[in-house]
């Protein structure tokens, strides 16, 4: 019982992932800054932001279902944290597993996006509603290719259980044998995290902060934490599948940071896509590429089996 509480609140879910998320968030900001020839924030900036938000007054807009408004960020963060229980956080084997936990994890990770969309939709602000529409539109565009890209390694391993897939992927870097899947997965993660060029849902120059415009204080802090947790989860998942598995903490740090650098690099050289362009890109190219990868896998498997 105590052990489970520890696992839930401290390690691997809970506190550890939160700290991990904040640190990675800082690293990504710092990387982007350096790539743009700037200094970037100091190490405590993300922590300071969260602490400040937690201390801030929380404003609930008039005419909004207050309970739902307050519950959504909690659900979002809880969903993201729950997903961590099935992931090889810090290179250690996942705490829990069962056949098919990959699908559950991926959908737990999507809970945050759904909650963000819902939060925007109930907020009644004009920017929030437009933001919510965009969040959900984007969700439906990247989710299928992203899932297909993650199922590639699962297909090769013949299992839908994260640790088994990872065990199969160890020793061989699937990003070399399934490059398309890797790229689609990485870019899908950027869509999930609403990183440029997929930041139309929170495009500050158009709709202020998108779906979360009306959020302040704790609610906003929880959403932001949820996104940082998701960053960790997403990087872990891709590193475990495509970069030859995660075997120890060092392995974990090196591989996830490499991915983070890749994300920061892609982020800096791109302009924001309009939401219609995002959808077009994912369905026209993303989904197609993921299917091509699948076809290639089917053929190669067919040959080898």
């Amino acid at each position: 019982m105590l052990g489970q509480l520890f696992a839930l609140l401290i390690f691997p879910a809970g506190l550890f992932v939160l700290v991990n998320g904040l640190v990675y968030h800082w690293i990504s900001r710092k990387l982007v800054a350096r790539l743009q020839n700037r200094v970037g924030p100091r190490w405590f900036q993300p922590v300071a932001d969260i602490v400040k938000l937690l201390a801030n007054e929380e404003i609930i807009p008039a005419g909004v279902n207050a309970r739902l408004f307050a519950a959504l960020p909690v659900v979002a963060l809880a969903g993201a944290l729950t997903a961590m229980l099935y992931l090889p956080i810090a290179g250690l084997p996942p705490l829990h597993n069962f056949p098919g936990d990959l699908i559950v994890t991926v959908y737990l990770l999507s809970l945050l996006t759904l909650c963000t969309g819902l939060a925007g939709a109930i907020s009644k602000g004009r920017f929030s509603v437009i933001g919510a529409t965009r969040v959900l539109t984007q969700l439906f565009s990247y989710e299928a290719p992203f899932l297909l890209a993650l199922l590639g390694p699962a297909f090769v391993a013949g299992s839908w259980q994260i640790d088994e897939i990872m065990a199969h992927a160890s020793g061989q870097w699937l990003m070399l044998t399934q490059p398309i899947g890797f790229i689609v997965a990485l870019i899908g993660l950027m869509g999930k995290l609403e990183i440029t060029p997929f930041d139309a849902p929170e495009a500050e120059t158009e709709i202020v902060a998108g779906a979360l415009t009306e959020y302040s204080g704790r609610g906003l802090a929880l959403f932001l934490l949820g996104r940082e947790v998701e960053l960790v989860g997403g990087l872990t998942l891709i590193a475990a599948f495509y970069l030859g598995g995660l075997h120890n903490p060092l392995d974990y740090v090196v591989k996830t940071l490499l991915l983070l650098l890749g994300v920061a690099g892609i982020q800096t050289v791109m302009a924001r896509l309009r939401i219609d362009q995002t959808v077009g890109l994912w369905w026209r190219y993303g989904a197609l590429l993921a299917l091509v990868q699948w076809l290639a896998l089917l053929v190669s498997q067919g040959v080898f089996v």
């Binding site: 800054a33 350096r34 790539l35 200094v39």
Partner: protein, 139 residues
């Protein structure tokens, strides 16, 4: 079709020092032309008040103690000054100048913004006079 054309800049920056100036920890040297705080030299002033006439923001005031002996005190309001240097241009006796060193003029209260220039004893007599009358009116 080309994409990611800023990639070269981006990669180069990764191995280069950021250009951000870490003010106030590091200060860049200022050019000599910089128009900072105004300085007034009472020795040559004739009290013609041309500087005051054209000041666009009423930042200057010349208090006459003894016109015949050319004893003046200049009250300068840094908070109002726009640092345009028109007064420096107007002065035919080169009494006015703007410092290129003294430019970090922010303060947390209003007191440092009022500056009295002049011979020490003149400034003192003016301040005493204000202390007596309890206001900052002229004369």
């Amino acid at each position: 079709m080309k994409i990611a054309m800023m990639l070269r800049d981006v990669l180069r920056s990764l191995f280069r020092k950021p250009v951000t100036e870490l003010y106030p920890a590091q200060r860049q040297p200022t050019p000599v032309q910089l128009r900072g705080k105004l300085h007034w030299n009472p020795e040559k002033c004739t009290g013609c008040c041309l500087c005051i006439k054209d000041c666009p923001c009423d930042a200057l005031e010349l208090i006459t103690i003894d016109k015949a002996n050319k004893r003046f005190v200049m009250r300068y309001d840094v908070g109002r000054c726009t640092f345009c240097a028109q007064c420096v241009q107007n002065c035919r006796f080169n009494c006015l100048g703007m410092s290129s060193e003294d430019w970090e003029l922010a303060a947390t209260d209003k007191a440092p913004f009022t500056i009295y220039y002049g011979r020490e004893e003149d400034v003192q007599s003016i301040l005493d006079c204000f202390a007596e009358t309890g206001d900052r009116a002229e004369e």
